[in-house]
Structures are given as C-alpha cells and as structure tokens.
C-alpha cells in the first residue's frame, strides 16, 4: 500500500504553486501527481517521498490535506497492459474510485496508482492473479 496525499484546493490563482513551494522548502520530492477538479474546487493527489511529513507541513501552512492509501501496480507499457491488470478487480466486483498513471524513467513498465473502496480485498485479488503490486518503499524512492 502506498500513502497518497490528498489536498483540497479552491480554484484560485497560485494555490498549486504554493503547494509545490511548501513541499520544496521542506525538502520533499513529488513522485507523481494527479488533479480532479470541478468548477469551484480541485483535489490534488500526490505521491511524495515522505508522505507523513508532507501532510503535516501542508497542514501547518493552512492546507486541508489528508493521507489516503492507494495501490501501486506495475503494468507493461504495451497496448492492453492496463486492462490486463485491472480486469481481475472488475471481475471481483471491486469498485475503482479513481486511478492515474506515470511512466518510469528506468524501466519499460508503467506505474498505475489505484484508489479502491476495499483495499485489502483488492490486494488479495491482485495477488491471486499474479499482478505485481509495488511496495511503498520502492515508490517513495523512485
């Protein structure tokens, strides 16, 4: 399981930059990010090297931030790679709340971050289907 930071952002100038400044000043490195937005707010989701510290410095600076657990999957960077990794979850009736992907520098595989309702059930399904789940240590140190 990987710890993800979720941050509430009002849609106004400079808030994203401010998040990155706060993390930069604290020496925290962003590994991956995604943003979900509506017309008046956004939720910024970050994978960083020091999630607990990131959450507390953001809160100190007045941001609404929380830690959520997500699953990191490695999928081959080929057509159909994503479907192959996710179909066991669908078959098991596990609902995916959201996901986002990023490509690694050193390997040919893509990394997928998946947020599900029942994380333990999802992990079991993935294990049974031999879908490789990436450890949090490896993600934080990418």
């Amino acid at each position: 399981m990987v710890k993800q930071i979720s941050i509430f952002l009002e849609n106004k100038c400079g808030r994203m930059i401010r998040v990155s400044e706060v993390l930069g000043e604290a020496g925290i490195n962003i590994r991956a990010l995604s943003i979900a937005d509506t017309s008046d707010f956004g939720i910024l989701r970050l994978i960083v090297d020091q999630p607990e510290k990131a959450c507390s410095v953001l809160r100190e600076k007045g941001f609404m931030a929380s830690v959520t657990e997500v699953i990191a999957l490695e999928v081959p960077d080929v057509p159909g790679g994503l479907a192959k990794a996710l179909s066991p979850l669908e078959e098991a009736g596990i609902n995916i709340e959201y996901l986002y992907a990023f490509v690694q520098k050193r390997t040919a595989d893509a990394l997928i971050l998946v947020r599900v309702e029942n994380i333990n059930a999802a992990l079991q399904v993935l294990q049974e289907n031999d879908i490789p789940v990436i450890s949090s240590e490896r993600i934080y140190s990418l």
């Binding site: 009002e10 939720i43 007045g62 941001f63």
Partner: protein, 432 residues
C-alpha cells in the same frame, strides 16, 4: 446564588418593586429629559397615568436613532454632573452611540455581573480570564468589575494575541474564560495548533456573549475546551453584559427583573406578544440614573417565560437569542438568520461553524451563497464525497428555509477570524 434576596424574590414582591421603580424612573425622565417630556405630551399623558406594569405598553418605544439624534448626552438625566464613566457602542451597524453611568449605575452593573459570574460557577478562588475587548466596548470592563466584586482574581487580558492568551491561561491556572463565543472557538483552535490539551488547564467554565450563538456551538465549545459554557446577555444602551445570564440549569437566561422590565413585541406590528411567543425583546431600565431608557427596542429575537426554574431564581427567563431583527436577511421574501444556517451546519455533524453568507442580486433575483470552511472530518479525497457534502448542506437549508442556495466549500482559515464579533454576512445588495 450571589444575591438570594433579590434573585429568588417571590414574584408578587418583585412585581411591586418593579412598579415602584418604574414610577420613579418615569418621573425622572419626565422631569429631566426633554425627549421623554415630548413623548408624554404627544400621547397626552403624565407619568401618573401609568397605574400598572401593563400600562407601560401605552408608551412609545425608544430606538437606537433616539440615542443617535440626541448624541452625545441629550438623553442623560443630569448632563455629566454625576457621570463617572462613558462607554460607546461599536458602531458596526451605524453611527456610534454614547452611554453614561453614575457611580450607583456602576455598582448595580457590578452586582449584576457578579450574579452572572456566580451562575457560571465563579467564586472568590476563581481566576477569571477576560478576553472581551477593554475600552469603550462594555464587555471588558463590565465583566471586570463583577469579577472583582466577587473577589475572584482577574486577568484583564482583553482581545488579541491568541497564542499568548492560551499560554497565560495555562500558566496562571485560569478557571473561567469570558469572551465572545467566536473568540472562544478561536482560542480552542489555537490550543489545538499549539498541541496543548485542554486537560492541562484548570479551565472549568466559560461565560460567552455579545453575539448570538446556538446550542450546537455551545456543544462544540464545551467539547473542545472541556468546560461548561454559559450564555450572558446585555447591551450597552441598557447597561452592558449582565442584563440576563444563564444559571446552571441552562434553560434560558434569567433577566434581572429587579432592575429591568422586559417585554416581547411583534417587530412588524409593534404589538406586545403573550408570554412564550417569539419576537423582539424590549427593555425598560428601572434603576438606571444617568441614562434610563423606556421601552428600548433591542432588535434581539427571543421569547420569555415566567415558569419556575429548578435553580430557584424567580426572575423570568429569556430564550437564547436566536438572531437580530437587523441581522435578519430577507432573501427572495424569506427571513433568514445566520444562526439558522449555523445550526444546520452543526447538525450535519462534522462541521465547525466557520461560515459566511454572501448575498447578492442577479437581475431581480436575490442569491445566497454559503461559504463553509472544510474541516478534517468533512474532507474526502473524492470529488463525489465533497460534492455530496455540498448537496447535503444545500438540501438541509432548502428544507428548513425553503430557499435555494449555492454552497461553496473553502480552504481552512480563509474566512476572516474575529477577535471580537464574527462577520457572518456580506450583503452586496446594499452596495448596488
């Protein structure tokens, strides 16, 4: 109970005392204040024509504009001859008004504040932290003299520098906090930020007033500060804090009937309403010397009951003020009080009452946007979760008030915090 003889006086005796004191007050204003002389002449009456407490309703109201029109000393009975103190209202709702006190007025004020503080548990050994503003505002000095009268130890810290306040409360062993309810919340949050557990303090109770607050807000304050929170009521035009105060039963605020006569009127028709009805509180002072007021319209919305209280005090009780007739927003013809929105937010549970109502007009239609600060408990990392929360708030408001609103979640600490009174409403219609 601070003064059993007066606070638990049998009601028949109390009524006789009230009538006697009312007669004296009416004679005094008739003899000494041109404004009241004129009023009596206009209705073709003299003070002697007021033969019962019920006859009081024959007299016209005194309103804030009367104080403004006679600014600064026009309604004083004897100029500044016996006046030893001046206070002034904050002027947030218009021009300032000036009020004065004789030495005797200050003694009575201290007496009533001593009753209020005793009701909230203050004794000689108490350490009373007064974070109401000191100065022209009646809050600071009003509570101050009452606490000294009891013989408690007073920390006259006034408002502001909240972190320093928390440290002082902890170091000095404060047992009672007196401030506005919104500042009490501010203190509680600061304590959390400083990672100080309220259990490390000696704090037992709080006396909060100067702005309307809901029972839900009381629960939040009590939980966060681990205290028992008491409401206190007053206004500078009538005296200041201490006009009415909660006893440990907390089933309404005992209004000091040996010094004031209270009525409830319909703010639209001006008619006196029967006991138990909700309307605007009107107060006549019956012992004030420097600046007596006859049937002063407070603009505060409440109801009165003379039912016996388990605490033994016989003075009537007013319900917690639920709003102000001048805070009342009329949105698309519907009366809306910020306090109603507050209770909805608190009923939803996970919220703290940091909110702001923004009223505007688009074309001919009034719009209401409610800004609510997101808290940890409310936060969800899913868009669906936050949109669901906005919808829940919208639906609850629509159910209660029958109007549609826009709800906007905002980041923590983006709604201005008050050191004194909270700015709950921005009405842009007035600017256009």
């Amino acid at each position: 109970m601070w003064n059993r003889n007066h606070e638990a006086m049998p009601r028949e005796k109390l009524a006789r005392l009230q009538f006697l004191r009312l007669k004296q007050t009416l004679e005094a204003v008739y003899q000494l204040v041109p404004h009241y002389q004129k009023i009596f002449r206009e209705i073709g009456a003299e003070p002697g024509d007021i033969r019962s407490l019920a006859d009081l309703a024959r007299l016209p109201f005194t309103i804030k504009d009367d104080l403004r029109n006679n600014y600064p000393y026009g309604l004083f009975t004897d100029g500044l001859n016996e006046v030893v103190r001046i206070h002034s209202s904050s002027g947030t709702t218009g021009l300032p008004t000036v009020v004065g006190y004789t030495r005797h007025d200050l003694e009575i004020w201290a007496e009533l504040m001593a009753r209020a503080l005793s009701g909230a548990g203050a004794v000689r050994d108490s350490v009373v932290h007064i974070a109401y503003g000191y100065g022209l505002f009646t809050g600071g000095l009003g509570v101050h003299y009452g606490a000294e009268k009891i013989g408690a130890t007073v920390v006259p810290i006034s408002g502001g520098q909240t972190r320093r306040q928390v440290r002082m409360m902890k170091d000095l062993g404060t047992t009672l906090l007196a401030c506005t309810p919104s500042y009490a919340l501010n203190i509680a949050e600061t304590m959390e930020e400083m990672q100080i557990d309220p259990g490390e303090l000696q704090l037992k109770s709080g006396l909060f007033g100067a702005e309307p607050w809901s029972d839900n807000m009381r629960r939040v304050i009590e939980k966060k500060l681990q205290i028992s929170a008491f409401d206190i009521y007053g206004l500078s035009e009538v005296m200041g804090p201490g006009v009415a105060y909660e006893c440990p039963a907390k089933e309404g605020l005992h209004l000091a009937e040996d010094h004031f006569i209270a009525e409830i009127i319909d703010p639209a028709s001006d008619e006196v309403l029967p006991e138990g009805a909700t309307g605007e509180l009107v107060i006549t002072t019956i012992t004030k010397e420097a600046l007596p007021v006859v049937r002063y319209r407070t603009h505060d919305i409440t109801s009165l009951t003379r039912e016996p209280c388990p605490c033994g005090r016989t003075h009537l009780r007013m319900a917690k003020v639920s709003g102000r007739t001048d805070d009342m927003l009329i949105i698309r013809g519907v009366n809306v009080f910020p306090s109603q929105v507050e209770s909805i937010l608190l009923n939803i549970g996970a919220t703290e009452p940091h909110y702001q109502l923004v009223v505007d007009r688009e074309g001919a239609l009034d719009t209401l946007e409610i800004r609510v600060e997101l808290t940890e408990q409310m936060f969800s990392d899913k868009v669906k979760g936050l949109e669901g929360l906005e919808k829940l708030i919208r639906d609850e408001i629509s159910n209660l008030l029958g109007i549609s609103t826009a709800v906007k979640l905002v980041e923590p600490k983006t709604i201005p915090r008050s050191e004194g009174k909270a700015e709950r409403v921005i009405d842009r219609r007035k600017l256009r």
